[in-house]
């Protein structure tokens, strides 16, 4: 009966769409936040006094399925101390052209030195600048931190250091919950 309307019905759908909500994410202007545990680029964390957590054990490099991580450890001494233990990572490089951001390195890390952030804008126009070095990967210095080398500041003994260090770390994390630089993957 109303068959003569059929050719026009299609335009109804088109017209209806004009009043629908636009699902487009205006990415560069208003980026949608990632999931909190999103695997973005890595970060090398620090203790509360600024010493590096990385001990240069190379477990991350061993765990890496793509062989993207290169670590070279060296010994700490009393004049030049970068991490609280015996050794520190002197050279630390991640090749982001190999890294598949799987997070196995984070799982392998015994000191929680390596975690992942939510940053993902990594594209670059040459291969060399996509090999990130230790300076680029290290977490920025927060309040109360001092760039190594310097002696251990969080206690007399090692037990003191690690306990107070961990406590201070927790306080710092609680204080800056919204801080983007905090450990993204816990």
């Amino acid at each position: 009966m109303l068959d003569w309307l059929n050719p026009v019905k299609g335009f109804g759908v088109t017209f209806h769409t004009m009043f629908k909500k636009v699902p487009t994410i205006e990415y560069p202007e208003e980026p949608r936040p990632t999931a909190p545990r999103f695997h973005g680029r890595h970060q090398l964390n620090r203790w509360a006094d600024g010493l590096e957590k990385c001990i240069g054990c190379e477990l991350c490099a061993w765990a890496c399925p793509a062989d993207a991580i290169y670590v070279e450890g060296a010994d700490n001494n009393e004049d030049e101390r970068y991490s609280p233990g015996e050794r520190y990572g002197r050279v630390y490089q991640i090749n982001y052209l190999r890294c598949i951001l799987c997070g196995l390195c984070v799982e392998a890390c015994p000191t929680r030195a390596l975690t992942m952030t939510n940053e993902y804008e990594l594209a670059d126009d040459n291969r060399q600048s996509l090999i990130w070095t230790k300076e680029q990967l290290l977490a920025p210095l927060r309040e109360g931190m001092e760039a190594p080398p310097h002696p251990m500041r969080l206690g007399e003994t090692e037990e003191d250091y690690y306990r107070s260090g961990r406590g201070a770390d927790r306080q710092a994390d609680a204080g800056t919950e919204s801080d983007k630089d905090s450990e993204a993957v816990r």
């Binding site: 636009v22 699902p23 487009t24 994410i25 990415y27 560069p28 980026p31 949608r32 399925p65 793509a66 062989d67 070279e72 060296a74 002197r90 050279v91 090749n95 982001y96 052209l97 190999r98 890294c99 598949i100 951001l101 799987c102 993902y120 804008e121 990594l122 594209a123 670059d124 126009d125 040459n126 291969r127 060399q128 996509l130």
Partner: protein, 184 residues
């Protein structure tokens, strides 16, 4: 003390290079080269949620002769390499290449005899995009960085001298060596 001071308001001056760059970047047609999982993310970039058409790239086509930009998405096997080169050769100048994902950029986790260790062994790559696979935002970010590069490309003799200078700079740069003294 130039012409721009004598112009009435509302008139914009630019250089030929900037104008050409603007035209080139604002209607860049991509040729898809989806080879693996990255292609899924590349398709979603064309969809309504990410909508690459906002940047003048609505026509995602498989035809190289109407394309300016090749997005190599996925691992390139040795057998695919000549095909990729042929597609690239069929594209008209000026043309650009994005290596999307770690496999296209460097071989990624597939460090074996079957996979080309980076498409830059076959075609010149303008933008490397890490990620496995990169999320659509990362591809848009790479595209925008490429747009910026295209916008600021010089033309003709200027471009030639720029290339030569870059070549000299790369030849003269010190190799990124790791200091061996400090370890001992």
């Amino acid at each position: 003390m130039g012409i721009e001071e004598k112009l009435p308001s509302g008139i914009l001056l630019t250089t030929v290079e900037q104008a050409a760059g603007l035209v080139r970047k604002s209607s860049m047609w991509p040729a898809t080269f989806g080879l693996a999982c990255c292609a899924i993310e590349m398709m979603s970039v064309g969809g309504p949620h990410y909508d690459l058409a906002r940047f003048g790239m609505e026509k995602f086509g498989a035809t190289p002769r109407q394309a300016d930009l090749m997005i190599v998405a996925g691992r390139v096997s040795q057998k695919m390499a000549p095909v990729l080169r042929q597609i690239y050769d069929q594209m008209p100048e000026p043309k650009w290449v994005i290596a999307m994902g770690v496999c296209a950029s460097s071989g990624g986790m597939f460090n074996n005899y079957a996979i080309v260790q980076g498409v830059d062994h076959i075609v010149p790559v303008d933008m490397y995009l890490p990620g496995c696979p990169p999320r659509p935002e990362m591809l848009i970010d790479a595209v925008l960085k490429l747009h910026d590069q295209v916008q600021n490309t010089k033309l003709g003799a200027h471009r030639q001298s720029e290339i030569e200078e870059e070549e000299r700079r790369l030849l003269r740069r010190p190799l990124p060596l790791i200091d061996q003294e400090a370890a001992s």
